[in-house]
Symmetry: D2
Subunit: 453 residues, 4 copies
């Protein structure tokens, strides 16, 4: 028996062992063999091949009976792995039962086996991914709930802007992640579809019984039967690639956020610690954001891979040249990267060390300047937006120039004093009093997630 291929040097860092087992060479082979076994059973059931042929074929349709290195070498000659797979399978069946061997791969073409095999692999993969999505949502919901009132600075253009709470940030991440789960639900029925068409998608090789076999085979495999074969229409597969790209984009956004919050100068969150995790070979004090690096690497690589799958859609006639072949390695690679990024993100969110004190400290960095809008809005209600804006701009510049708190500067400005009393100003300068609809937004995101799960 040949085991799953060993991990590559970087595989365990970037990928996810659970996903790798569903997407590696052996799984690819088993996917094709599952197609062959089910095809034989379906054809036997409807009477297209002898009933006795199905068992012997299924008995040999086991990846561990095959020599992957020999298949790899033969693939290089044949142009795809299904051709030598069928040849080897036929030989194995023939060793026990020459009659059954005649009916291996009956009426099918290479791409039928490869596409359906891929769909079977992806079905298992999507279950795995969905479970991790649910897990990530749970972690984010927990962060949103726990930190609904944990004040911190909101930042735009990498500049401190206004206060919010860490719970709102988590709710924003949750909001995006849960849309990906909705999309996944929608694409599943388009992707989990049988491929069976024979050479040019007419199933001529099955005489008039193509539809019958299609129905039986789809049922056998638990897949939907397509209206017609989709050898040249790659939108089903490319759509998954785009979904993986979208998901990875969201994860990359999250990783960018938490890695920025982890900067030595901010220290507002930390990736969970772990034995030997993120240690630097020369700087013992650092906690490197290893998970962020992995997720950001995935987010850097995913767009190019999605572009590859989209570019590959332009395939010739009934079955194309090059475009289809471009999918074979690129899609599993993308799927593995996304799975790795998702797991890293879920683990990070589950174990995230949040430092409310550091967040609080961040609110004081600008000596009140981040509260300028609060004051400006209050002034604006009385003086108009533009005038209030000009006033605050002046105050802010003075505060920066003199190295003073904004509050002090404002208190000294007669135009301000004329409109706002001291206690009013204090209240306006308190971050806790200027979070607007933060809690309502968090509640809405949590409610939607509750409804969706």
């Amino acid at each position: 028996m040949e085991p799953h291929p060993p991990p590559t040097l970087l595989g365990p860092l970037f990928g996810l062992a659970d996903a790798a087992r569903l997407l590696d060479d052996r799984a690819r082979l088993q996917g094709m063999l599952d197609f062959e076994a089910a095809l034989a059973r379906a054809e036997a059931a409807v009477g297209v091949i002898p009933a006795a042929a199905a068992g012997p074929i299924a008995a040999k349709a086991k990846a561990e009976l095959f020599d992957l290195a020999a298949l790899a070498a033969a693939t290089a000659q044949a142009g795809n792995p299904a051709i030598p797979m069928v040849k080897q399978l036929t030989a194995k069946v023939a060793a026990d039962d020459t009659l059954a061997a005649r009916y291996v791969h009956w009426g099918a073409t290479s791409q039928d086996a490869m596409d359906t095999g891929l769909v079977l692999q992806l079905r298992a993969y999507l279950d795995l991914i969905e479970a991790d999505l649910v897990r990530l949502e749970a972690a984010l919901a927990e962060l949103a709930r726990r930190h609904r009132g944990t004040l911190m600075v909101g930042r735009t253009w990498l500049q401190q802007a206004l206060p919010l709470t860490f719970g709102l940030k988590a709710a924003g991440w949750l909001d995006a992640v849960s849309r990906h789960r909705t999309r996944l639900r929608e694409l599943r029925p388009r992707l989990l579809v049988l491929q069976l068409g024979g050479a040019v998608g007419t199933l001529a090789s099955l005489g008039g019984r193509g539809l019958e076999v299609t129905t039986a085979l789809a049922q056998e495999l638990g897949l939907a039967a397509p209206d017609l074969p989709w050898h040249g229409s790659r939108d089903r597969v490319a759509e998954l690639a785009t979904w993986l790209g979208l998901l990875t984009g969201t994860l990359g956004k999250m990783a960018r956020d938490w890695s920025l919050l982890m900067q030595t100068e901010l220290g507002e969150v930390l990736e969970p610690a772990g034995e030997g995790k993120g240690g630097s070979s020369t700087m013992p004090h650092k906690r490197n954001p290893v998970a962020a690096a992995v997720v950001l690497a995935a987010a850097t690589r995913a767009p190019g891979l999605v572009a590859t799958l989209l570019a590959g859609m332009v395939q010739e006639h009934e079955r194309g040249l090059g475009g289809w072949h471009a999918e074979w390695e690129a899609l599993p690679e993308l799927a593995l990267l996304a799975a790795g990024a998702l797991r890293h993100t879920a683990l990070t969110m589950e174990g995230l060390e949040v430092d409310p004190a550091a967040m609080r400290a961040g609110l004081a960095t600008t000596r009140g300047l981040i509260m300028a809008e609060a004051v400006q809005m209050a002034l604006g209600a009385r003086l108009g937006r533009q005038e209030a804006h000009g006033l605050m701009e002046r105050a802010a510049k003075q505060a920066v120039a003199e190295g003073q708190d904004l509050g002090e500067v404002l208190r000294r400005m007669p135009e301000v004093a004329a409109e706002l009393s001291g206690p009013e100003l204090d209240r306006l300068l308190d971050p806790a009093g200027y979070t607007g609809s933060t809690e309502a937004f968090i509640d809405r995101a949590l409610a939607t997630r509750q409804a969706g799960s």
Copy 2:
């Protein structure tokens, strides 16, 4: 009044004038102004700003009142077009009504105006696109019906393979196109969503009334109200980009197909003729596949643009730096390319000149070799797949070597004669008799389209 910008030199070739008007600079400006007008109305309605302020603001929120060149110059300073737009709008309102001018853009941030404006532009754009999708589907359904029995050669790897009908080819295209319409239906509610968050997405500037304004404004604009602002969560927008990429991929596949069928040596279809359409400056006899060139160019460009939108998703904190800015030109460009490609495809399919005689002639190119599978399947049922395969391989090689019809060669082979009579062989070698489930597949695709429209 400033009209829509004039078309660029290549715009009318690659783009689509109808779509350009929805996506150009003036439409972008009007989108933002529609946001401002509706914001004022909504805030007046719930009492956040004086009731009297809404009218004067809305009265000036008209793109034709603005100087685009001046806005462009100011945008280069400000970093985004919403800042100078608000400044100019405020000045215009103030000229008539200084009170109302105080309440322009009340509580909102630049990105609220830009994102919501974009969503409004895209709503109109999606209506346009959907209409063209429906039109394309109708044309394809008509081709599928009309040519359900028009025999032609199916090709794989750019080699002649087996017969099918042109109707099946059209049904295959239809099948893919109609999935894109389903996807569009699904993404609409995720995309047609209001953006309103203020600087960091808390709507602090609206005190405790953020949700109230959100609800009123969403209703005013006919958009959905999001659970929370999505400034940093770009999946809504990036999803549209991926959909456009998928659509363009399918259109590219079709254009690849029809341009190959249009090759001088095949001549099985022709793009519709038109005054001056596709003429060559030096070769008067040629009918150049101009539409195919345009669609293939779009399919070459779309993947890179989709990758840009995906890469841009990695945005920092509450509102990011660079990633968001990367969307501003790339998304309209992609949308315009896709619209152009779709219209070109629809027009091509509506007016496609199909030459059944040329298709018939193509079936004879190989002197029977494309019917080898039919014979092989018949032999395989008696001798087994592998043996029949070997036999046919031998016959085919001999036919090629001797320049003879496959039928003649087969008739002379005793192993074949032992299994198949002359009339049986004739029947097996007739393309019309080897189209399998072609008609059933066409019916299924047409039925699904019927159900979906």
Copy 3:
């Protein structure tokens, strides 16, 4: 006379007016017309067309005589802009001189005019870009010199790591930028090459005189004559795209750096101030990194555009379908983005506000932890790398846990005291004493730049 097209709304932000004038529609048209004028002169000179024909043709080969909107409309029919350009040019020449009109575009094909015209546009563009590269190098060299000793924190993984000087950072940027100038020098002779081949690259239309005309025309235009026409070999053009992609990548790295250094919490540098530059509509105190946003947006978009040009290289036969068309808008767009990003970067570096005090303050953030390596190396020389590493890891953890300076913790550790005296430890903990080869590296980069300019 028709002026250059007006700027688009976002053009002045992302692009560069100087470059836009070289790359816009009118420049594209003039490039083609320059080809036609020079072709007529060259053919007249070698006697392929009448000597008297050249003047009248050249007289009309002026973009301002043409109606761009009409050309745009005709382009949509013809499939490329050269066909209607030739038609209009011929009509204009014929109005004055029917004989000369016979010889417009003599022996050439559309792509000859379009490719050569593009090369002429790019020649002017490269001069512009090279000047800005030189300008950027000068600014960086000045920063490297001025800040050779300005201490600051070096950061890896977004964590504070070890000290360096800001001059080294600038020298590192300079080092990369000057390599791009070398590459530019190398690619120029491959790009600035005439295209002249006629329909299929044989110049059959010029009888036996193709080479003669080629030589004369190349000389006329100041371009190199290629060994053979390169209609289908797009590496010359695609190479420029990759160079632009590489350049933009380096600029993006610089913008990422300076935007991170501009974070409110660091404040180590500031983009130069400017009237209305980077102001926020709601946060008067902020100085938004507008230039960084623009450069990062370019760096987000460039990879996808480079991918487009590379994907477009796969063109069919003598002149292709779609791939070439994909270049027409994508290359100028990329060139414009890169020019804009380069100018923004040059201006930023020229006016960068560096705050040495803030940099100094940054060195104290970790209370000595960033000096851990210095101590570790000293200990390592006595105890071995691994042991010293373990010791420092312990000290660092203790310092963090107890909120103390690393120096204090180390002074209390007997294993350390046994190896290092108090003054030795003080010296090791001083950032100024641990900059290694910083100054030597700066000198080397400056010397190379000196040699190269």
Copy 4:
């Protein structure tokens, strides 16, 4: 001893075993170990570490002594493979010599080992690639020479256009390929450069002796010494990626060409036959263009990978987060794909079966229409380009409509007869007489190649 990892299922199809051995996990590890051994030797030579330490370190710096699976697992924790590599290497050295073990990796950082190791891998890889480039050039030169007079149809827009010879086509391919070799020569000195900078590129860990060690180490490894460390400046590496992208684009263009020429309807060339090569599982007569499929798949995938490397250039500060990590798998993947595509192309060109008779037959497809330009040019010289164009357009339409030879139609047109005699017309309609500068162009390309090799 652990051998190189076994091939993946698709590796031998898409990649190249020779290149895989230079780029796989074991080669990656050995690259890093070569760095460590040479570092120890260089540091011992200049006296930074004890002379006796170098030998024991070098003795253990052998990939076959390491457990790749354990390294892979540790890499997932550490965030890069160099950290566990150093740990394991130190342990191995310590087993024999605890003193030497103290000096493993002395003064270096992980990225020094990884980048230099990569450069060493790439040096060997470039030698391999260059040899294959030379081989491809030789094959193309041979085709250009042998077929300098082999007439065939030139095609534009996938339409038959004018005659040329297959030798010119080969010379055009050769022309592009030889430019890639020039580019390779130019980029080598920028890429084959040592990386040594310590944590933040100051080599502070080597005290004042950083440059000395740098020089010695560069000499030891046969690499150039950079002006300063380039941890954050990825243009050296990204440039290779762009070169690989350009090369693959050219190869893709060639594969597109030869696969189109191989179409059943054309049959002008055939990929070389081979045991089991390109056989179809259901269509015994087909010779599938397997090499073209592989090369086109590479050309579909390369643009996205190049985009990834370019996007990854935007790295933070002294050593970045995610961008660098994105290179680790993407660059070897791209390199392997390009190597596979190059070898497939070289083998195809070496063994290409050219069918001059089929090419000749192709010239007759249009019944003279492809010679229209020749007649038009002759007429144009007398009647003017526009008039002649109109005349020929009419003749061509008539010939198509009536299914007649162009010659017959022309002979019957009085406007033509007035200008051209019968024998003149015959000469104009002979493809052999209308190849223009074809042979001169071939000679020029061959001469340049001669000069360059």
